[in-house]
């Protein structure tokens, strides 16, 4: 049996910013999402000051001023490059086949089933080497399953001083203790709604209780196969749940109600662009590309429950997962169906004709070696936003979208007032030393 490890960069975006501006070390730092909408990464110091994940910038402006919190716009070029460095370091240390990049700042590792002491030493040396080589601090959780590794990682991060950012759970007793310390809502893959249901219906509060549930019960009441796998993972039996989660969807849709009636084209365009970006993230997360984009907007009519829907779609010559390509097409599509004088209450983007990224083929008339092939790493970097945001059903999320849809009067141009230089990817933006 092998052991699973998760390597997770600590406050990744903030750490990237600090690497080239060490004066922000030990100071509160936050990084904003696309368009400077909301906070998507916080240093420990910023967390302690009460800056919540996903909070819109305007809500924390006074706190930022009061406590002199350093604010950065997202610098995707920088984060993407540093992410590659962290992952490459892991690949060099362990071998390509043992590293699975899970997100811009997380990777799963396959380790041999060594003893507790050896695993402790191995994890610690991986952590130290990554930090030494790349300058990025990571936390590592090691356990018999990915779910338990995630749990170990969370506990390691919670008490960095005591754990050295490393926690290995290999002994049954240690696993039990860790499970008892972990609320079900803090388990990987359990959303708030699901956790609430576990509390209310079955009085299950911590991971240990959930691990005791028998499989047929889990299958019947806890979401079928998914629930069964989760329970197994908690018991230390690996279930390749993650891969299966990634089973490719044939269609990806992102639609939202607006926070208010929207009448301006610029706002509709921003909303569509935002939804397209999210759909594209989902697309890249399952390593695929789309060949068909469909957008719709729904009109709001006073006194009527169902507004008129308008839609438009287009086939792409060449399947793409590049946000900028998809956003361009989607906004063109929505411009065609928008009519001035109407109020809209909802918009959406649906991607279909989905093909695996690897099998993506150019059509006869498009050069398959065209520029956007090189953008995939960047796109994957952008996806960190996806991972750093609270799940869709939570209220903050709506406010993010509302915020983006509310727009800036600069049209659909990314707002990046506080972006640091692209230190590692541009000759003329290199960090300066004296």
């Amino acid at each position: 049996m092998s052991m699973k490890a998760i390597v997770d960069c600590n406050n990744f975006y903030c750490s990237c910013e600090r690497l080239f501006q060490p004066k922000f070390e030990k100071k509160p730092v936050v990084v904003l999402s696309n368009n400077d909408g909301c906070v998507i990464s916080r240093s420990d110091e910023a967390k302690q000051l009460g800056v919540a994940m996903g909070v819109p910038l305007f809500e924390v402006r006074s706190l930022i001023r009061e406590k002199s919190i350093a604010v950065f716009s997202s610098n995707y070029a920088l984060y993407g490059d540093l992410s590659w460095r962290v992952m490459e370091t892991l690949r060099i240390l362990l071998g390509k086949e043992r590293v699975e990049v899970y997100s811009v700042d997380e990777a799963f590792l396959e380790l041999d089933a060594l003893g507790q002491k050896e695993l402790d030493a191995l994890a610690l040396s991986i952590r130290k080497t990554v930090e030494e080589w790349t300058g990025i601090r990571v936390s590592i959780g090691v356990a018999p399953t990915r779910t338990l590794a995630k749990l170990a990682n969370r506990l390691a991060k919670k008490n960095k001083a005591a754990t050295n950012c490393v926690m290995v759970l290999s002994e049954p007793l240690a696993i039990e203790k860790a499970l008892r310390r972990t609320a079900v809502s803090d388990l990987w893959g359990i959303g708030r709604r699901y956790a609430k249901q576990l509390h209310e219906k079955w009085s299950i509060y911590d991971g240990w209780q959930l691990a005791q549930v028998n499989e047929s019960f889990a299958n019947k009441y806890l979401g079928g196969v998914v629930g069964t796998r989760l329970v197994r993972e908690l018991r230390g039996i690996p279930s390749r749940m993650m891969e299966e989660e990634r089973v490719q969807k044939k269609m990806i849709a992102t639609t939202r109600m607006f926070g208010r009636r929207v009448v301006e084209l610029s706002e509709i365009k921003e909303a569509i662009a935002t939804y397209t970006a999210r759909a594209a993230e989902k697309l890249r997360r399952q390593f695929s590309a789309t060949g068909h984009i469909h957008v719709f907007i729904i009109e709001h009519r006073e006194g009527e429950r169902h507004g008129m829907a308008y839609d438009n779609h287009r086939h792409l010559d060449k399947p793409s997962s590049d946000s900028s390509v998809l956003i361009r097409v989607a906004t063109e599509l929505v411009v065609d169906i928008f009519k001035k004088g109407r109020a809209y209450k909802k918009a959406g983007v649906i991607l279909s004709d989905i093909v695996p990224e690897a099998a993506r083929q150019g059509s006869l008339f498009v050069d398959s070696a065209s520029a956007d092939d090189d953008r995939l790493p960047l796109m994957l970097a952008i996806d960190n936003i996806n991972f750093s945001l609270p799940p869709a059903h939570e209220p903050q999320h709506d406010s993010i979208l509302r915020f983006a849809a509310a727009g800036t009067n600069r049209g659909w141009k990314m707002k990046q007032e506080y972006r640091s230089p692209r230190y590692t990817t541009k000759w003329n933006e290199m960090p300066v030393v004296r």
């Binding site: 922000f24 460095r85 080589w133 790349t134 030393v433 004296r434």
Partner: protein, 145 residues
């Protein structure tokens, strides 16, 4: 970077990663035309200057603190974080939250950051609590003329 040059040949792309299919003069047997036998890759500066890619960063020198070491304003520094600190090496240091290039010097009792310019003073590290080594400078790139 474009993979083709004007002649339809696979052009050098800064790496060894091109395949037989990209060499247009290759025939169906997979062997290239005779000229291909004499084709060699150009010299790749990365091979010489970068020993550990994920650990290597570039910096831009500002000022003349290191001019007697041949590092001038505007030069590019190649910094490898995986190279161990050793006495006498030029390093990028973090001092009071600032990035500095100096020569690291240690004797039996104390450690210093030494500038290579008589107008600057040596820094005694005993006076600073928050000194860290950012990385070791392995090469500098200086334009001539």
């Amino acid at each position: 970077m474009d993979s083709k040059n004007g002649t339809g040949q696979a052009a050098y792309r800064g790496s060894k990663s091109f395949t037989q299919q990209q060499v247009r003069s290759a025939n169906a047997t997979g062997f290239g035309a005779a000229a291909d036998d004499y084709m060699e890759r150009g010299i790749d500066l990365n091979e010489e200057l970068i020993r550990n890619k994920p650990a290597t960063y570039f910096f831009r020198m500002k000022g003349d603190a290191m001019k007697e070491a041949g590092i001038f304003d505007g030069d590019v520094l190649i910094v490898d974080r995986s190279v161990p600190l050793a006495n006498g090496r030029v390093i990028v240091a973090v001092l009071n939250g600032e990035l500095l290039v100096r020569r690291f010097h240690k004797n039996f009792s104390s450690a210093f950051l030494i500038p290579e310019n008589s107008r600057y003073k040596a820094i005694n590290l005993a006076e600073f609590s928050d000194f860290t080594v950012w990385g070791v400078v392995t090469y500098t790139i200086h334009p001539q003329g």
